[in-house]
Amino acid sequence: MLAKRIIPCLDVTHGRVVKGVNFVELKDAGDPVEIARRYNEAGADELTFLDITASSDDRDLILHIIEDVATEVFIPLTVGGGVREVGDVQRLLNAGADKVSINTSAVMNPQLVKDASDRYGSQCIVVAIDSKRVGDHWEVFTHGGRKATGLDVIEWAKKMESLGAGELLLTSMDRDGTKSGFDLELTRAISDAVDIPIIASGGVGNLQHLVDGVKEGRADAVLAASIFHFGEYGVDEAKRYMKQHGIEVRL
Protein backbone atom coordinates (compact mmCIF):
# COMPACT_ATOMS: atom_id res chain seq x y z
CA MET A 1 0.00 0.00 0.00
CA LEU A 2 1.20 3.49 -0.82
CA ALA A 3 2.67 5.19 2.23
CA LYS A 4 1.86 8.70 3.34
CA ARG A 5 5.01 10.78 3.08
CA ILE A 6 6.80 12.88 5.67
CA ILE A 7 8.77 15.70 4.10
CA PRO A 8 11.10 17.86 6.16
CA CYS A 9 11.39 21.31 4.63
CA LEU A 10 14.62 23.29 4.62
CA ASP A 11 14.30 27.03 4.04
CA VAL A 12 17.69 28.09 2.72
CA THR A 13 19.23 31.55 2.56
CA HIS A 14 22.89 32.54 2.15
CA GLY A 15 23.77 28.86 2.19
CA ARG A 16 22.19 28.20 5.58
CA VAL A 17 18.95 26.61 6.72
CA VAL A 18 16.75 29.09 8.55
CA LYS A 19 13.28 29.10 9.96
CA GLY A 20 10.98 32.05 10.34
CA VAL A 21 7.68 32.65 12.04
CA ASN A 22 4.91 33.86 9.70
CA PHE A 23 7.55 34.36 7.00
CA VAL A 24 9.67 36.75 9.13
CA GLU A 25 12.10 36.59 12.14
CA LEU A 26 14.61 34.16 10.65
CA LYS A 27 16.50 31.83 12.97
CA ASP A 28 19.59 29.85 11.93
CA ALA A 29 19.06 26.07 11.91
CA GLY A 30 22.31 24.83 10.38
CA ASP A 31 24.12 23.54 7.30
CA PRO A 32 21.76 22.25 4.59
CA VAL A 33 23.88 19.30 3.48
CA GLU A 34 24.42 18.14 7.04
CA ILE A 35 20.72 18.50 7.86
CA ALA A 36 19.70 16.69 4.66
CA ARG A 37 22.03 13.81 5.54
CA ARG A 38 20.55 13.56 9.03
CA TYR A 39 16.95 13.53 7.80
CA ASN A 40 17.79 10.93 5.18
CA GLU A 41 19.23 8.67 7.86
CA ALA A 42 16.16 9.20 10.02
CA GLY A 43 13.89 7.99 7.20
CA ALA A 44 12.57 11.16 5.56
CA ASP A 45 10.58 10.19 2.48
CA GLU A 46 11.60 13.27 0.52
CA LEU A 47 13.28 16.59 1.19
CA THR A 48 12.09 20.02 0.13
CA PHE A 49 14.46 22.98 -0.16
CA LEU A 50 13.00 26.44 -0.46
CA ASP A 51 15.48 29.05 -1.55
CA ILE A 52 14.33 32.17 0.23
CA THR A 53 17.37 34.18 -0.82
CA ALA A 54 16.25 37.64 -1.82
CA SER A 55 19.16 38.64 -4.04
CA SER A 56 19.89 36.97 -7.33
CA ASP A 57 23.64 37.11 -6.53
CA ASP A 58 23.25 34.18 -4.21
CA ARG A 59 21.10 32.20 -6.61
CA ASP A 60 23.85 29.78 -7.56
CA LEU A 61 24.37 28.79 -3.93
CA ILE A 62 21.26 26.61 -3.95
CA LEU A 63 22.52 24.80 -7.05
CA HIS A 64 25.75 23.88 -5.28
CA ILE A 65 23.85 22.76 -2.21
CA ILE A 66 21.56 20.53 -4.29
CA GLU A 67 24.54 19.12 -6.16
CA ASP A 68 26.20 18.22 -2.87
CA VAL A 69 23.06 16.70 -1.37
CA ALA A 70 22.30 14.71 -4.53
CA THR A 71 25.65 12.92 -4.43
CA GLU A 72 24.89 11.29 -1.11
CA VAL A 73 21.16 11.43 -0.41
CA PHE A 74 19.14 9.11 -2.61
CA ILE A 75 15.57 10.15 -1.95
CA PRO A 76 13.48 12.63 -3.94
CA LEU A 77 14.58 16.25 -3.66
CA THR A 78 12.24 19.15 -4.37
CA VAL A 79 13.58 22.65 -4.79
CA GLY A 80 11.63 25.87 -4.94
CA GLY A 81 12.16 29.60 -4.68
CA GLY A 82 12.90 32.06 -7.44
CA VAL A 83 11.84 29.77 -10.28
CA ARG A 84 10.85 32.23 -13.04
CA GLU A 85 11.37 30.50 -16.35
CA VAL A 86 11.79 27.09 -17.91
CA GLY A 87 15.57 27.60 -17.82
CA ASP A 88 15.43 27.80 -14.01
CA VAL A 89 13.61 24.46 -13.92
CA GLN A 90 16.27 22.95 -16.15
CA ARG A 91 19.13 24.26 -13.99
CA LEU A 92 17.62 22.84 -10.82
CA LEU A 93 16.91 19.45 -12.41
CA ASN A 94 20.45 19.34 -13.76
CA ALA A 95 21.82 20.09 -10.30
CA GLY A 96 20.03 17.02 -8.98
CA ALA A 97 16.53 18.17 -8.06
CA ASP A 98 13.79 15.67 -8.86
CA LYS A 99 10.97 18.16 -8.61
CA VAL A 100 10.83 21.90 -8.90
CA SER A 101 8.34 23.95 -6.96
CA ILE A 102 6.83 27.03 -8.59
CA ASN A 103 4.97 29.62 -6.54
CA THR A 104 4.87 33.33 -7.38
CA SER A 105 5.78 32.76 -11.03
CA ALA A 106 2.83 30.41 -11.48
CA VAL A 107 0.57 33.35 -10.65
CA MET A 108 2.50 35.89 -12.73
CA ASN A 109 2.75 33.49 -15.67
CA PRO A 110 0.57 30.35 -15.48
CA GLN A 111 1.91 29.31 -18.87
CA LEU A 112 5.21 28.53 -17.12
CA VAL A 113 3.53 25.61 -15.35
CA LYS A 114 2.29 24.27 -18.66
CA ASP A 115 5.56 24.82 -20.50
CA ALA A 116 7.63 23.24 -17.72
CA SER A 117 5.35 20.22 -17.31
CA ASP A 118 5.14 19.71 -21.08
CA ARG A 119 8.90 19.83 -21.31
CA TYR A 120 9.96 17.86 -18.22
CA GLY A 121 6.83 15.99 -17.22
CA SER A 122 4.17 16.66 -14.60
CA GLN A 123 6.01 14.41 -12.16
CA CYS A 124 8.63 17.08 -11.57
CA ILE A 125 6.40 20.15 -11.38
CA VAL A 126 5.07 21.07 -7.96
CA VAL A 127 2.95 24.17 -7.62
CA ALA A 128 3.24 25.81 -4.22
CA ILE A 129 0.20 27.71 -3.06
CA ASP A 130 0.39 30.13 -0.15
CA SER A 131 -3.11 30.42 1.17
CA LYS A 132 -4.72 32.83 3.58
CA ARG A 133 -8.26 32.91 4.82
CA VAL A 134 -10.04 36.03 3.65
CA GLY A 135 -13.67 36.27 4.77
CA ASP A 136 -15.45 33.04 3.89
CA HIS A 137 -12.85 31.66 1.47
CA TRP A 138 -9.13 31.22 0.98
CA GLU A 139 -7.06 33.47 -1.20
CA VAL A 140 -3.73 32.87 -2.97
CA PHE A 141 -0.86 35.06 -1.81
CA THR A 142 2.53 35.49 -3.48
CA HIS A 143 5.95 37.01 -2.85
CA GLY A 144 6.53 35.04 0.31
CA GLY A 145 3.04 35.78 1.51
CA ARG A 146 3.20 39.57 1.17
CA LYS A 147 0.98 40.08 -1.83
CA ALA A 148 -2.69 39.25 -2.25
CA THR A 149 -3.74 38.04 -5.68
CA GLY A 150 -7.52 37.94 -5.45
CA LEU A 151 -7.40 34.32 -6.65
CA ASP A 152 -9.56 31.73 -4.93
CA VAL A 153 -7.37 28.87 -3.68
CA ILE A 154 -9.71 26.05 -4.74
CA GLU A 155 -10.15 27.44 -8.26
CA TRP A 156 -6.43 28.07 -8.49
CA ALA A 157 -5.60 24.52 -7.42
CA LYS A 158 -7.87 23.12 -10.14
CA LYS A 159 -6.34 25.40 -12.72
CA MET A 160 -2.81 24.36 -11.78
CA GLU A 161 -3.80 20.69 -12.06
CA SER A 162 -5.24 21.32 -15.51
CA LEU A 163 -2.04 23.08 -16.63
CA GLY A 164 0.05 20.07 -15.67
CA ALA A 165 1.12 20.38 -12.03
CA GLY A 166 1.97 16.92 -10.70
CA GLU A 167 1.52 17.85 -7.08
CA LEU A 168 0.44 20.78 -4.92
CA LEU A 169 2.30 22.10 -1.90
CA LEU A 170 -0.36 23.85 0.10
CA THR A 171 0.77 26.23 2.82
CA SER A 172 -1.60 27.91 5.21
CA MET A 173 -0.08 31.28 6.00
CA ASP A 174 -2.53 31.68 8.83
CA ARG A 175 -0.91 28.67 10.49
CA ASP A 176 2.69 28.81 9.30
CA GLY A 177 5.03 29.09 12.26
CA THR A 178 2.21 29.07 14.80
CA LYS A 179 2.53 25.40 15.83
CA SER A 180 -1.25 25.19 16.07
CA GLY A 181 -1.66 22.50 13.39
CA PHE A 182 -2.52 22.45 9.69
CA ASP A 183 -5.57 24.28 8.40
CA LEU A 184 -7.45 20.99 8.03
CA GLU A 185 -10.51 22.47 6.42
CA LEU A 186 -8.38 24.05 3.71
CA THR A 187 -6.31 20.91 3.17
CA ARG A 188 -9.34 18.73 2.85
CA ALA A 189 -11.12 21.13 0.51
CA ILE A 190 -8.16 21.14 -1.88
CA SER A 191 -7.50 17.41 -1.60
CA ASP A 192 -11.13 16.72 -2.50
CA ALA A 193 -11.09 19.25 -5.35
CA VAL A 194 -8.18 17.75 -7.32
CA ASP A 195 -6.91 14.28 -8.30
CA ILE A 196 -3.19 15.02 -7.84
CA PRO A 197 -1.33 14.57 -4.54
CA ILE A 198 -1.45 17.30 -1.90
CA ILE A 199 1.34 18.15 0.52
CA ALA A 200 0.00 19.87 3.61
CA SER A 201 2.20 22.57 5.10
CA GLY A 202 2.15 25.27 7.71
CA GLY A 203 1.49 25.03 11.40
CA VAL A 204 2.84 21.70 12.61
CA GLY A 205 3.64 21.87 16.31
CA ASN A 206 3.36 18.26 17.38
CA LEU A 207 3.04 14.76 15.98
CA GLN A 208 -0.71 14.59 16.33
CA HIS A 209 -0.89 17.47 13.84
CA LEU A 210 0.77 15.23 11.24
CA VAL A 211 -1.80 12.49 11.89
CA ASP A 212 -4.64 15.02 11.64
CA GLY A 213 -3.26 16.34 8.35
CA VAL A 214 -3.56 12.88 6.81
CA LYS A 215 -6.71 11.66 8.51
CA GLU A 216 -8.76 14.83 8.66
CA GLY A 217 -7.07 16.87 5.95
CA ARG A 218 -6.72 13.92 3.55
CA ALA A 219 -3.20 15.05 2.68
CA ASP A 220 -1.02 12.64 0.71
CA ALA A 221 2.09 14.03 2.35
CA VAL A 222 2.87 16.26 5.30
CA LEU A 223 5.61 18.85 5.37
CA ALA A 224 7.19 20.31 8.47
CA ALA A 225 10.24 22.32 9.31
CA SER A 226 10.79 23.64 12.79
CA ILE A 227 9.64 20.59 14.77
CA PHE A 228 12.43 18.64 13.07
CA HIS A 229 15.13 21.33 12.81
CA PHE A 230 15.24 22.17 16.46
CA GLY A 231 15.21 18.59 17.61
CA GLU A 232 11.76 18.58 19.21
CA TYR A 233 10.88 15.42 17.29
CA GLY A 234 12.79 13.05 15.07
CA VAL A 235 11.51 12.08 11.62
CA ASP A 236 11.66 8.42 12.68
CA GLU A 237 9.68 9.23 15.83
CA ALA A 238 7.06 11.04 13.74
CA LYS A 239 6.69 8.02 11.46
CA ARG A 240 6.29 5.59 14.34
CA TYR A 241 3.65 7.86 15.84
CA MET A 242 1.73 7.98 12.57
CA LYS A 243 1.94 4.21 12.24
CA GLN A 244 0.58 3.77 15.77
CA HIS A 245 -2.35 5.89 14.65
CA GLY A 246 -3.15 3.63 11.74
CA ILE A 247 -1.38 5.54 8.97
CA GLU A 248 0.61 3.62 6.39
CA VAL A 249 4.21 4.88 6.48
CA ARG A 250 7.62 3.70 5.31
CA LEU A 251 9.60 2.54 8.34
Binding site: M1, L2, A3, K4, R5, N40, D45, A70, T71, E72, F74, I75, P76, L93, N94, A95, G96, A97, D98, D118, R119, Y120, G121, S122, Q123, C124, G166, E167, D192, D195, I196, P197, I198, R218, D220, A221, R250
Partner: protein
Protein backbone atom coordinates in the same frame (compact mmCIF):
# COMPACT_ATOMS: atom_id res chain seq x y z
CA UNK B 1 39.10 3.96 -20.26
CA UNK B 2 36.35 1.61 -21.36
CA UNK B 3 32.79 2.47 -20.47
CA UNK B 4 31.38 0.08 -17.89
CA UNK B 5 27.91 1.58 -17.74
CA UNK B 6 26.23 3.86 -20.25
CA UNK B 7 23.27 5.87 -18.98
CA UNK B 8 21.28 6.78 -22.06
CA UNK B 9 20.58 10.50 -22.33
CA UNK B 10 17.72 11.39 -24.63
CA UNK B 11 16.80 14.65 -23.00
CA UNK B 12 14.13 13.24 -20.72
CA UNK B 13 14.63 14.15 -17.12
CA UNK B 14 17.08 13.98 -14.34
CA UNK B 15 19.91 11.67 -15.32
CA UNK B 16 22.24 13.03 -12.75
CA UNK B 17 20.37 11.16 -10.02
CA UNK B 18 20.80 7.86 -11.84
CA UNK B 19 24.49 8.28 -12.58
CA UNK B 20 25.26 9.61 -9.08
CA UNK B 21 23.50 6.69 -7.45
CA UNK B 22 25.44 4.16 -9.54
CA UNK B 23 28.71 5.97 -8.86
CA UNK B 24 27.90 5.90 -5.17
CA UNK B 25 27.24 2.16 -5.06
CA UNK B 26 29.97 1.23 -7.58
CA UNK B 27 32.75 3.80 -7.19
CA UNK B 28 35.14 1.83 -9.39
CA UNK B 29 32.77 1.72 -12.37
CA UNK B 30 33.21 4.13 -15.25
CA UNK B 31 29.71 5.55 -15.65
CA UNK B 32 29.01 7.73 -18.67
CA UNK B 33 25.83 9.67 -19.44
CA UNK B 34 25.62 9.61 -23.21
CA UNK B 35 23.48 10.09 -26.28
CA UNK B 36 26.13 8.63 -28.58
CA UNK B 37 25.04 5.31 -30.15
CA UNK B 38 28.70 4.27 -30.47
CA UNK B 39 29.29 4.68 -26.73
CA UNK B 40 26.12 2.72 -25.97
CA UNK B 41 27.25 -0.03 -28.31
CA UNK B 42 30.64 -0.22 -26.65
CA UNK B 43 29.46 -0.08 -23.02
CA UNK B 44 29.41 -3.20 -20.89
CA UNK B 45 26.00 -2.36 -19.41
CA UNK B 46 23.25 0.05 -20.25
CA UNK B 47 20.81 1.96 -18.07
CA UNK B 48 17.79 3.40 -19.84
CA UNK B 49 16.05 5.92 -17.57
CA UNK B 50 13.44 8.47 -18.51
CA UNK B 51 10.71 10.72 -17.25
CA UNK B 52 8.02 12.71 -18.91
CA UNK B 53 5.48 11.71 -21.51
CA UNK B 54 5.70 8.73 -23.86
CA UNK B 55 5.23 10.68 -27.13
CA UNK B 56 8.06 13.04 -26.18
CA UNK B 57 10.29 10.14 -25.18
CA UNK B 58 9.84 8.35 -28.48
CA UNK B 59 10.32 11.56 -30.44
CA UNK B 60 13.53 12.39 -28.56
CA UNK B 61 14.87 8.86 -29.01
CA UNK B 62 14.38 9.10 -32.76
CA UNK B 63 15.57 12.70 -32.97
CA UNK B 64 18.88 11.52 -31.53
CA UNK B 65 19.05 8.41 -33.70
CA UNK B 66 19.05 6.17 -30.63
CA UNK B 67 16.34 3.66 -31.48
CA UNK B 68 18.58 0.99 -32.95
CA UNK B 69 21.26 1.44 -30.30
CA UNK B 70 18.66 0.89 -27.56
CA UNK B 71 17.20 -2.18 -29.27
CA UNK B 72 20.67 -3.65 -29.84
CA UNK B 73 21.68 -3.05 -26.23
CA UNK B 74 18.46 -4.59 -24.94
CA UNK B 75 19.24 -7.72 -26.94
CA UNK B 76 22.87 -8.08 -26.07
CA UNK B 77 23.96 -6.83 -22.64
CA UNK B 78 22.77 -6.23 -19.09
CA UNK B 79 20.08 -3.63 -19.57
CA UNK B 80 18.16 -1.76 -16.88
CA UNK B 81 15.06 0.23 -17.80
CA UNK B 82 13.72 2.74 -15.28
CA UNK B 83 10.26 4.36 -15.27
CA UNK B 84 9.62 5.71 -18.78
CA UNK B 85 12.63 3.63 -19.82
CA UNK B 86 10.58 0.58 -18.84
CA UNK B 87 7.32 1.69 -20.44
CA UNK B 88 8.70 2.40 -23.91
CA UNK B 89 10.23 -1.09 -24.10
CA UNK B 90 6.70 -2.32 -24.73
CA UNK B 91 4.72 -2.11 -27.97
CA UNK B 92 2.27 0.66 -27.38
CA UNK B 93 1.39 3.31 -24.82
CA UNK B 94 -2.06 4.71 -24.27
CA UNK B 95 -0.32 7.99 -23.41
CA UNK B 96 -0.70 10.02 -26.59
CA UNK B 97 -1.51 6.77 -28.49
CA UNK B 98 2.20 6.17 -28.95
CA UNK B 99 3.95 3.35 -30.76
CA UNK B 100 6.89 2.34 -28.59
CA UNK B 101 10.03 0.25 -29.12
CA UNK B 102 8.29 -3.13 -29.11
CA UNK B 103 11.18 -4.97 -27.47
CA UNK B 104 8.75 -6.65 -25.05
CA UNK B 105 5.19 -7.66 -25.97
CA UNK B 106 2.53 -5.70 -24.14
CA UNK B 107 1.00 -2.27 -23.67
CA UNK B 108 1.09 0.71 -21.30
CA UNK B 109 -2.14 1.97 -19.75
CA UNK B 110 -3.26 4.80 -17.52
CA UNK B 111 -4.54 4.20 -14.00
CA UNK B 112 -8.28 4.22 -14.75
CA UNK B 113 -10.02 7.10 -13.01
CA UNK B 114 -13.05 5.03 -11.95
CA UNK B 115 -10.89 2.43 -10.19
CA UNK B 116 -8.94 4.87 -8.04
CA UNK B 117 -10.52 4.25 -4.63
CA UNK B 118 -9.04 2.47 -1.65
CA UNK B 119 -10.96 -0.18 0.30
CA UNK B 120 -12.53 2.56 2.45
CA UNK B 121 -13.74 4.41 -0.63
CA UNK B 122 -11.17 7.21 -0.36
CA UNK B 123 -9.93 8.78 -3.56
CA UNK B 124 -6.49 7.64 -4.70
CA UNK B 125 -4.43 10.28 -6.43
CA UNK B 126 -2.80 10.05 -9.82
CA UNK B 127 0.14 10.26 -10.36
CA UNK B 128 0.86 7.30 -8.07
CA UNK B 129 3.52 9.16 -6.12
CA UNK B 130 5.49 7.93 -3.16
CA UNK B 131 6.80 4.78 -1.50
CA UNK B 132 4.94 1.58 -2.22
CA UNK B 133 5.60 -2.08 -1.42
CA UNK B 134 7.21 -4.07 -4.19
CA UNK B 135 6.35 -7.76 -4.23
CA UNK B 136 8.84 -10.04 -5.89
CA UNK B 137 6.95 -12.25 -8.32
CA UNK B 138 9.99 -14.38 -9.07
CA UNK B 139 13.51 -14.70 -7.70
CA UNK B 140 16.04 -12.69 -9.68
CA UNK B 141 19.68 -11.69 -9.17
CA UNK B 142 18.58 -8.03 -8.99
CA UNK B 143 16.36 -8.75 -5.97
CA UNK B 144 19.23 -10.23 -3.94
CA UNK B 145 19.51 -8.55 -0.54
CA UNK B 146 16.14 -6.81 -0.89
CA UNK B 147 13.31 -7.94 1.35
CA UNK B 148 10.04 -9.11 -0.17
CA UNK B 149 7.62 -6.19 0.09
CA UNK B 150 10.35 -3.54 0.45
CA UNK B 151 9.23 -0.03 -0.38
CA UNK B 152 10.48 1.81 -3.46
CA UNK B 153 9.75 5.32 -4.69
CA UNK B 154 7.26 5.64 -7.55
CA UNK B 155 5.98 8.53 -9.58
CA UNK B 156 3.89 7.65 -12.63
CA UNK B 157 0.40 7.75 -14.08
CA UNK B 158 0.77 4.81 -16.49
CA UNK B 159 1.75 1.19 -15.92
CA UNK B 160 2.81 -1.71 -18.15
CA UNK B 161 0.68 -4.73 -19.00
CA UNK B 162 2.98 -7.40 -20.39
CA UNK B 163 1.42 -9.92 -22.75
CA UNK B 164 3.47 -12.73 -21.24
CA UNK B 165 3.00 -13.11 -17.49
CA UNK B 166 6.31 -14.96 -17.25
CA UNK B 167 8.23 -11.66 -17.64
CA UNK B 168 6.63 -10.22 -14.49
CA UNK B 169 9.35 -9.92 -11.85
CA UNK B 170 7.52 -7.69 -9.42
CA UNK B 171 4.19 -6.06 -8.70
CA UNK B 172 2.63 -3.42 -6.46
CA UNK B 173 -0.92 -2.48 -5.50
CA UNK B 174 -2.65 0.81 -6.36
CA UNK B 175 -5.33 -0.23 -5.57
CA UNK B 176 -5.21 -3.26 -7.88
CA UNK B 177 -2.01 -5.24 -8.56
CA UNK B 178 0.07 -3.79 -11.39
CA UNK B 179 3.39 -4.89 -12.84
CA UNK B 180 6.27 -2.80 -11.52
CA UNK B 181 9.24 -4.95 -12.58
CA UNK B 182 9.87 -7.16 -15.59
CA UNK B 183 12.73 -9.51 -16.41
CA UNK B 184 13.48 -11.10 -19.74
CA UNK B 185 16.94 -12.48 -20.50
CA UNK B 186 19.42 -9.64 -20.10
CA UNK B 187 16.66 -7.06 -19.58
CA UNK B 188 15.45 -5.95 -16.17
CA UNK B 189 13.12 -3.00 -16.00
CA UNK B 190 11.34 -1.26 -13.17
CA UNK B 191 8.57 1.30 -12.90
CA UNK B 192 9.92 2.70 -9.62
CA UNK B 193 13.05 4.79 -9.20
CA UNK B 194 15.87 2.78 -7.60
CA UNK B 195 18.06 5.90 -7.73
CA UNK B 196 15.56 7.60 -5.39
CA UNK B 197 14.71 4.62 -3.20
CA UNK B 198 17.46 4.99 -0.63
CA UNK B 199 19.18 1.81 0.56
CA UNK B 200 17.05 -0.77 -1.24
CA UNK B 201 17.34 1.21 -4.45
CA UNK B 202 21.11 1.32 -4.12
CA UNK B 203 21.16 -2.41 -3.46
CA UNK B 204 19.23 -3.04 -6.68
CA UNK B 205 21.59 -0.80 -8.66
CA UNK B 206 24.57 -2.55 -7.07
CA UNK B 207 23.10 -5.91 -8.10
CA UNK B 208 22.74 -4.63 -11.64
CA UNK B 209 26.38 -3.57 -11.79
CA UNK B 210 27.54 -7.11 -11.00
CA UNK B 211 24.74 -9.02 -12.76
CA UNK B 212 25.82 -11.52 -15.35
CA UNK B 213 22.66 -12.64 -17.18
CA UNK B 214 24.63 -15.31 -19.04
CA UNK B 215 25.22 -17.28 -15.88
CA UNK B 216 23.32 -20.47 -15.52
CA UNK B 217 21.83 -19.74 -12.10
CA UNK B 218 20.45 -16.42 -13.30
CA UNK B 219 18.74 -18.10 -16.22
CA UNK B 220 17.24 -20.65 -13.86
CA UNK B 221 16.00 -17.95 -11.53
CA UNK B 222 14.26 -16.20 -14.34
CA UNK B 223 12.51 -19.21 -15.74
CA UNK B 224 11.40 -20.15 -12.25
CA UNK B 225 12.24 -23.73 -13.16
CA UNK B 226 14.15 -26.09 -10.96
CA UNK B 227 17.76 -26.27 -12.05
CA UNK B 228 19.38 -29.65 -12.09
Amino acid sequence: MSVDIAVIDYGMGNLRSVSKAIEHIAPAANVVVTSDPAVIAEAGRVVFPGQGAAPDCMREIDARGLRQAIIDAARSKPFLGICMGMQVLFEHSEEGDTACLGILPGTVQRFPHEAMRDDQGNKLKVPHMGWNNVHQAAPHPLWVGIEEGARFYFVHSYFVQPTSPEVIAGFSHYPFPFTCAVASGNIFAVQFHPEKSQNDGLTLLGNFVTWNPGERDAACDMSGAACA
